[in-house]
């Protein structure tokens, strides 16, 4: 059955953009466990650098539901209502861009190294 594919895609474009950005931006400190708060229609911190094997947990503090979605299947939450969490363990190095499928204005990036 055909399903519309949510397209956070543009992975190639985003990857190029990331390479260009990381060449100039100062590196974030590497952490081994991470919680990202969703508050005020934003991911905080919006950009995070983690070690391979780190589990990242998103917690939605807003009274409005949010999701956490990247272009691939690795990061793909359902609707997180207030105080609900979603966790993903990152086992492969790389840069992961994600956003909220309910609010297009939201975005975040995880760098795994």
């Amino acid at each position: 059955m055909r399903r519309p594919q949510p397209a956070w895609a543009l992975p190639a474009l985003l990857a190029l953009w990331t390479i260009a950005a990381s060449a100039t931006a100062p590196a974030d400190p590497v952490v081994h466990a991470a919680t990202i708060e969703i508050k005020g229609f934003a991911y905080a911190p919006r950009t995070i650098t983690i070690a391979v094997g780190t589990t990242v947990t998103w917690r939605n503090l807003d009274p409005e539901p949010h999701t956490v979605r990247s272009g691939d299947e690795l990061v793909r939450s359902g609707a997180l209502d207030q105080d609900e969490t979603y966790s993903v363990r990152f086992d492969k190095p790389g840069t992961y861009h994600y956003g909220c499928s309910i609010h297009p204005q939201m975005s975040g990036t995880i760098t795994v190294q």
């Binding site: 005020g40 229609f41 009274p63 499928s101 609010h103």
Partner: protein, 314 residues
């Protein structure tokens, strides 16, 4: 200068309208031109007759079944009131279009409740397009399992009704991160082909969930590639583009194209940029005049609706 009595009547009427959550929008077809009017007033017994047209459809939007926070702990109740209003309309049309956010969290139980409530509508046809709250489950399957058939699970489709061509579009699955909603290339190609052989004198109604013009980009209130769709629609003599999502009435006219956003039946949202973020707006009674102000701006853009409002208030 309105009298005190008029003010009281105005306040009572406003409270009544607010209690119905804005209810919906009635569209009538008169001389090939679609005229939206506010349903809360239409149910007062004058709007359907006053426009002198053929009732075409009622737009219901953003019912958010499953929401239970302070802004409205009883969204099922307000949807029920809305349906009662529709059923009681003197010139009730035979079709309802729900422009999305049927549910709040895309849960099966929420869809079931919504369907049960909507089944009380005394209309022949109900059409839908999903909101982002309807496709928030990880596989987007709850919505499509129930409402995917007319579009073969693509989310976009068209049909004709009373000589009007209706186009349902989906703009909640292809967000660009940190940007706006989008239709996507495949859907745009389909739209171009769908409209190609049609006479420019055919009235067209386009319905989608998110605004089809850029209302407020910082809150994502727009569709990035909507202009391309408008390019295919511009040659038609009468185009009405309706959506929900922002829970308040905003209208724009551009040539032959009228853009109209509907209210929610669940809760209001702040005016674009009037809060740090969009979301449910709790309205205490002392904030009511502010809410009414928002509504009256919209009414000024509809001369017909404004007239009805004045009459009711007196």
């Amino acid at each position: 200068m309105p009298s005190d009595a008029a003010n009281m009547a105005s306040r009572r009427h406003a409270l009544k309208c607010l209690a119905y959550g804005g209810a919906g929008t009635l569209f009538t077809l008169a001389g090939g031109v679609l005229t939206p009017s506010n349903l809360a007033f239409a149910a007062g017994g004058t709007a359907g007759k006053a426009t002198g047209g053929v009732p075409l459809f009622v737009q219901i939007s953003d019912t958010h079944i499953g929401f239970s926070k302070d802004a409205n702990p009883d969204v099922a109740g307000t949807l029920k009131s809305t349906i009662e209003l529709v059923n009681a309309m003197p010139d009730r049309p035979d079709m309802v279009i729900h422009t999305g956010d049927i549910t709040h969290l895309s849960k099966a139980a929420e869809f079931d409740t919504a369907a049960l409530l909507m089944s009380a509508l005394r209309v022949i046809e109900v059409h839908t397009t999903p909101g982002e709250h309807d496709v928030a489950d990880a596989t987007a399957s709850e919505y499509f399992n129930r409402y995917g058939k007319p579009s073969a699970n693509r989310g976009y489709y068209s049909f004709d009704h009373h000589g009007v061509h209706f186009v349902g579009l989906i703009n909640v699955l292809q967000f660009k991160p940190n940007s706006l909603a989008a239709l996507g290339t495949g859907q745009l190609e389909w739209l171009e082909a769908d409209l190609k052989g049609r006479s420019s004198s055919t009235p067209v109604v386009v319905f989608a969930h998110m605004p089809m013009w850029n209302i407020y980009q910082p809150w994502g209130w727009g569709t990035a590639d909507a202009d391309q769709a408008m390019g295919y629609l511009r040659r038609f003599g009468s185009v009405t583009v309706i959506n929900g999502h922002i829970h308040q009435i905003v209208q724009k006219v551009e040539g032959n194209i009228t853009f109209h956003t509907a209210r929610s039946t669940a809760y209001p949202q702040p005016v674009a940029g009037a809060a740090p973020a969009p979301g449910p707006l709790k309205v205490p009674s002392d904030q009511l005049p502010k809410m009414l102000g928002v509504s009256s701006v919209s009414f000024k853009r509809h001369p017909g609706t404004l007239t009805l409002t004045d009459r009711t208030l007196v």
